[in-house]
Amino acid sequence: MTTSFSTMAAIRFGYGRRPGETPPESVEALIRQVERGTRETCLFPFEGIAGRRARFSAFREVQQAYNAARDANMLVMVGEQSVNPYNIVMANAFRRDQHLKVRQAVFSPNGFFERLAAFWGDHFAINARKGGAMRILAGLHEAEAIRPNLGGSFSDLLKAAVLHPAMLAYLDQTRSIGPNSPVGLKSGRGLNENLARELIELHTMGAGSGYSQKDVRSTAFVLTGLWFRNPVYETVYRTRSAEPGSYRVLGKSYGGRARQIEQVYALLDDLADRKETRRHICRKLVVHFIADDPPQPVVDAMVKVWGRSGGQLVDVYRAMLEHPLSFEEEGRKARQPFDFVVAALRALNVPAEALGPGEDAKKAGVRPATDVTALQDVATMTAAGKPALGANPLSVGIIDRLGQPIWSAPSPAGWEENLSAWVTGSQLTERIAWARRLVARFGGTDDPRMLLEATMADAARADTIETVSRAPNRVVGLAMVLASPEFNRR
């Protein structure tokens, strides 16, 4: 017995079925989702991309005002604790963006595109907990660097994702100074290999694929000069911190007496085009979408198409989707926490109004944390002087709790992929507990068997149908649907 194309497409290549939504019936339908997705505006950052950029200076003003107050010993105190308005506006803005990320995934009709956005967001992982302005850059990184570019060529996506200020900040690139550049000579500062290493090891060729330490080091020299200014957050090339000279990376020379950003582009384009990169990325896509132990023929077919199409990602995705092995043996992957939560919210048709940031604001006697009018809507705090917007336990809260906080991967390598990492006693007890609370509130009067049919269709296992049918009560029956092995696999 094999599961139908549309069920597999919705579960393996999307965020699961939503009652009332037509699941994709063909490869072309999935590809159209990608094309639509790249053109559409996403819900985050909450003020829009232009809106966020227009408010950078306002965030900066709050920071400066806070620093000035701190230096003058004039901080606002709540009890023993001083109030940090900068932290409050950053935390509130980040919380808003995270909640909108969940809503985006739940309500988008372009499931495959949304899953790809998550894949590439993880491939080019950043971590908002790094501090500084990362919290207002994290959502922006996905919105302006990842999503519009994931249907084009890999080299364009690579440049957009790696050269974005969020990545430069996350991997310390703005700290990497050519030791013999004017800035280096004056300040005594020097090279930082962090971005160069991850660029080769994670973003392009993959660990152990044949490059040397010297290639990493030379790459770090080529990358010097990449820079952005707070609060503009636009990447520029700052020649006076760029290391002069030429550097050989994998047998090719980059740089020259006059250093320019084009030399960085050339290096990124060459890395994007390497055979090792094709293999690494194609394999990773298959590992993410199909199986921890990926079927090699699918990877090979994608690598071949990559070569022919010059790295046009839509063609690579199509090669994966058209391969018969991509639609066999369902359920080999675990749904990771974000995936699980979004699928459950879709299955129950939970309304958008229920998925906003927590309501600490209303309960706690809110007051403004700053006078900057441009930031009014996020510059609120509770009576205790804490950020007023909390994590909604139905969306961001449970995702945090399940150990996969949005835009906060534990390392540049992103999240764990293996099923064994996510199918553990703690995951299961947390998922069961949350499923129970969710169905108690949004399960309505549905028959558990109907929910199983609506959300899993022909992927429901006979023994699950039987167990759910015999549930001692409706809430347990509905919770079992969401906690079932097949709902937690894809």
Partner: protein, 390 residues
């Protein structure tokens, strides 16, 4: 493992260890006998030259003009050549009591790649090359421990770790389970998972975990998050049935402003060790060995942003009442230009696997044959008794 799901499995907050970004799961295994072994995986590449600084070597100050410390700056002298970073000062009472030592210029056989992920893979799998072994060395060791017929084991929080993963069952400790189901309802969940081995196993783990956490922590639902809770929990498990525990401390990848970024993980490490001691009875502490290891060291030279980049040789930490303490073990390679590996890293002179093997031999009597074939395939175990007590 029992397949009965105890009602406690589902009691609210039975296990409420908050997920901390810097602390990863704890795994446990139960064993016969009284000896204990705790491994702490320091993820991100701990800078051994910062933790235990060879201040007696003049080259250090040249390589690290901003980062190197001297006793005048607060570095705590250990043996006239090495000094301990002042942020780890809480460990000094253990040093004085002969319950702490360091192994310097050590590393796994991993060379040249300097990738965290491959490095950790080798550190935890115990292989001679990347991806040689697919299971954790500590897990394989369980099968080699004499009289360990009735084995059971456990892992804390959300993701399982490689070091104690493998074919021998290991318990995974869960976070804050939060659920109250009637007895009849529980039976349905057990049934729901019975035909899916991965989920059925996860369900059993959940059961074991909560039963144990109830026993150890009673109804205390609001334990603070972080390393202190992890160490306390570990001490609790070691005081009951479990003899092997493993957890991680993250945050060692100090590319930037190391004087600042080193502080949190090193404080966590000292806290973990001192909390373990404080929460184990003196009798159990005497039978406990703690081994803290990292995937590789960091560059001998500081980088351009007052940090250090990925290197090779580093430091391992041995602590506990069962270790031969008060010593910095080394076959010191020197930091002079010509002696650095690839012109940049502390050259490793001690295979970290020897140290791990010595601990398994001392604490659990694992045979040389098993150490060399099953636990660390290809290792030629050094039987000289270095690192071993008396």
């Amino acid at each position: 493992m029992t397949s009965d799901i105890n009602r406690r499995t589902f009691l609210s907050g039975a296990c409420c260890l908050a997920a901390s970004p810097l602390v990863t799961p704890v795994s446990f295994a139960a064993m016969p006998g009284e000896n204990r072994l705790v491994t702490i995986v320091l993820r991100g590449a701990m800078d051994g030259l910062a933790l235990v600084q060879p201040y007696g070597e003049p080259a250090l100050r040249l390589l690290r003009p901003k980062l190197a410390l001297t006793p005048e700056d607060g570095l705590i002298d250990l043996d006239g050549f090495f000094g301990l970073h002042p942020l780890a000062g809480d460990l000094m009472p253990l040093w004085t009591a002969g319950e702490l030592s360091f192994v310097h210029a050590t590393s796994t056989p991993y060379r040249a790649g300097r990738s965290h992920f491959d490095g950790q893979d080798m550190l935890e799998s115990g292989g001679a090359a990347v991806k040689d072994e697919r299971t954790g060395w500590l897990n394989r060791a369980i099968a080699s421990i004499p009289r360990a017929a009735d084995r059971k084991a456990i892992d804390i929080t959300t993701t399982a770790e490689l070091i104690l993963s493998g074919t021998n069952p290991v318990d995974v400790w869960s976070t804050r389970a939060d659920l109250a189901l009637a007895e009849d309802e529980q039976a349905f969940f057990v049934r729901l998972y019975r035909n899916d081995p991965a989920f059925a196993a996860a369900m059993r783990e959940a059961a074991e975990t909560d039963m144990l956490s109830d026993t150890i922590h009673g109804t205390d639902k609001k334990r603070s998050a972080g390393i202190r809770s992890v160490a306390k929990l570990t001490a609790g498990m070691l005081s009951a049935d479990h003899r092997i525990a493993s957890f991680s401390i993250n945050g060692w990848d100090t590319h930037l402003s190391q004087a600042r970024t080193f502080k949190r993980p090193v404080t966590d490490l000292a806290t973990a060790i001192t909390t373990l001691k404080a929460n184990l009875s003196p009798a159990i502490w005497r039978r406990t060995a703690i081994l803290a290891i990292t995937e590789f060291g960091r560059t001998a030279r500081e980088n351009g942003s007052e940090g250090t980049d990925h290197g090779t040789g580093g430091v391992a930490i041995l602590a506990g009442g069962a270790v031969a303490g008060g010593k910095v073990y080394r076959n010191w390679p020197s930091l002079s230009d010509g002696d650095l590996l690839d012109g940049r890293d502390l050259k490793p002179t001690v295979d970290l696997r020897q140290l791990a093997a010595a601990m398994l031999r001392q604490q659990f009597g694992v045979s040389t044959r098993d150490l060399e074939s099953a636990v660390f395939p290809g290792l030629s175990f050094d039987k000289s008794g270095a690192y071993l007590r008396g």
